[in-house]
Amino acid sequence: MTNILLIAFAISLIYMGIANRLSTYINILAVQGIILFGVSFIELIQINTINLIFILFETIVFKTIAIPLFLNYVIKKNKIVREAEPFLPDFLSVVIITCIILGSFILSNIITGVHIQKMFFLVAISALLSGLFIIITRKKVVTHIMGYLVIENGVFILSLSTGNKMTMLVNTGITLDIFVSVLVLGVFVNRIGNTFEEMNVDNLTNLKD
C-alpha cells in the first residue's frame, strides 16, 4: 500500500510540472499532505502514541489544511496573478521532471551496501530535485515557497524511511519544518507583499554587481 501512495506522490510531482495555475499548485500540496498522512500512518503505527499523534497532526492539520489555506490567503491578499509564469515551456518541465525521476531511480540502484527501502529513497530524491527545479524555473516568490514545501515533503518521506527506530530524528525534522515554514511564510511573504507592488522575483534583483 505504501508503494502505491508513494507512486501517487511521484505522479503529483509530474502533475506539478504541467500545472499552470497557482491554485492547482496549492491543491497538489494539500494532496501531498494527505498522501504523507497515509504513508506515516502505515509506516509508524507501531511507535508510541504521542509521537504518532504529533506526526499525524503535522501532516493533516499543518501540511494539508493550514499551509494551503495560508497560501490562498497570501495570494488573495496580495492580488497575485493566478498563473505560475514559468521560465520554461511546460512540456520541457514535464520532460525534466521525468528525467529527474529516471535519474533518482538510477541513483537508487547505483548506491549499494545499505539497507534502505528503495521506493522511499527514489521518491524523496525526486521530490528534492523537483522542488529545486520548481524554485529555479518559476518566477514568483510564492512558487518558490511551494518548491521549498515540496522539498520539505521529500525530506519527510526520507525520514519516514528510517522507520520507527529514529523517531527523534523525524520529530526534529518536523519541528524544523514547522518553524521555518511559519517564519518564512508568515513573516517574509507578507513583508515582501507589502513592500513591493507585485511578488515577483523581478523585484528582487536590485542586489547585483
Partner: protein, 304 residues
C-alpha cells in the same frame, strides 16, 4: 471459446458511445438520446452512397476500409481473462500497437490525399499525438510483461492474477493510464473535442471532412470499436481467474459500462486544453507509465 471476447467487444461497441452521450446529457441536465442513437446514425450512413472528390486517388477510397480492418484485427488479439484471443503469440502486444498504427497511417495519408489544407493540419496533429502516446502504451505493457514474465496478451493477463494487492494496485494505475490513452487515441475530450465546429481547432474530425456515406460510417464505428477494445483491456485487468463465464461476462460488461460512464464524466467536467498544452499532457501519461515501470522493478527487486 476464443471468439467469445470478439463477439462481446462487437456487442459492447454498439452501445458504448450511446452511454457516453447519455452520461454527458444527464450531467448537463438534459434527457438525451437513447443509448443506441449513435448506432442508428451509423446504420443510416452505412446505407448511403459514397461521394468522392475528383482530385483524390484510390488511397482515399481504400483508407477507411483498411482503418476499420486494422481495428478489427487488433480486437482479435484481445484475450478474455484466462481465455486467449483469436490470435495469440509471443510479443503480440507489439503487433497490436503496430496494426493500429497501420490503420492510423492509412487514415492520415487518406486525409492528405484530399489536398485539403485543413485535413493536412488535422493529420499532422493526429500523427504528433499518436507519436507521443505510443511510448506510454509500450512502457505500460512492458511493466505488465515484467510483472508477469510473459510477452503475449493472453499470458500477461493470465499471469497477472496472483491475488496479492499489488496486482490490483498496478491494475488500477494501469487502467488510469489506459483510460487516458483511449481518450487520446479516440480524439476525445481533454485533447480533442468531437463536438467542435471550428476546423482550426479540430484534430480527428477535420481529417474526415471529405468522407461521406459508407466510409464515414466505417470510420465512426471504428471509434466505437476502439473504445470497446480499450475497455476490454481494462476489464481484463480485473477479471477474476478460474471463474465461469457467468461471472466473467457480467464483470466484463460492468467494466465497459463503468468505463463509458467515466469517459462521459470526464468529458462533462474537463475543459478542452489549449492546443499548445496537448503535448505536455500526453507526455505526462508517458511519465506516469514510466513511474509504474519503476515501481514494478522496485517491487519485484529486479535491478540492473
Amino acid at each position: 471459446m476464443p471468439g467469445l471476447v470478439f463477439i462481446l467487444i462487437i456487442i459492447t461497441s454498439f452501445f458504448f458511445t450511446g452511454i457516453v452521450i447519455r452520461t454527458k446529457s444527464i450531467f448537463s441536465g438534459r434527457k438525451g438520446p437513447g443509448i443506441f442513437q449513435p448506432m442508428k446514425d451509423i446504420w443510416r450512413l452505412l446505407q448511403k452512397e459514397n461521394v468522392y472528390s475528383q482530385t483524390s486517388s484510390f488511397i482515399f477510397k481504400i483508407a477507411p476500409d483498411i482503418y476499420f480492418a486494422s481495428v478489427l484485427i487488433a480486437i482479435m488479439l484481445i484475450p478474455f481473462g484466462t481465455q486467449k484471443g483469436i490470435f495469440s503469440f509471443d510479443g503480440d502486444f507489439v503487433f497490436f500497437a503496430y496494426i493500429l498504427a497501420v490503420g492510423k497511417f492509412f487514415s492520415i495519408i487518406g486525409a492528405l490525399d484530399t489536398g485539403n489544407s485543413f485535413e493536412g493540419m488535422g493529420a499532422s496533429r493526429e500523427a504528433l499525438y499518436s507519436f507521443l502516446a505510443e511510448p506510454a502504451f509500450f512502457i505500460l505493457m512492458g511493466s505488465l510483461a515484467l510483472l508477469t514474465g510473459y510477452t503475449s496478451f493472453g499470458d500477461i493477463f493470465n499471469g497477472i492474477h496472483f491475488g496479492s494487492y499489488i496486482s490490483y494496485a498496478i491494475g488500477t494505475l494501469a487502467s488510469f493510464v489506459l483510460i487516458l490513452i483511449a481518450m487520446i487515441e479516440n480524439s476525445r475530450m481533454p485533447v480533442d473535442d468531437p463536438k467542435t465546429h471550428l476546423e482550426l481547432t479540430m484534430i480527428h474530425e477535420v481529417m474526415v471532412l471529405d468522407n461521406s456515406g459508407f466510409d464515414l460510417g466505417l470510420i465512426l464505428h471504428a471509434t466505437n470499436l476502439k473504445f470497446a477494445m480499450y475497455g476490454a483491456i481494462i476489464a481484463n485487468l480485473f477479471l477474476t481467474p478460474g471463474r465461469e463465464w457467468y461471472f466473467s461476462i457480467p464483470i466484463f460488461i460492468g467494466v465497459q459500462i463503468l468505463f463509458a460512464v467515466v469517459v462521459g464524466t470526464l468529458e462533462s467536467f474537463i475543459a478542452r486544453f489549449r492546443m499548445s498544452h496537448n503535448p505536455q499532457f500526453i507526455f505526462t501519461i508517458t511519465s506516469i507509465s514510466l513511474l509504474i515501470f519503476f515501481a514494478v522493478l522496485l517491487i519485484l527487486g529486479k535491478y540492473f
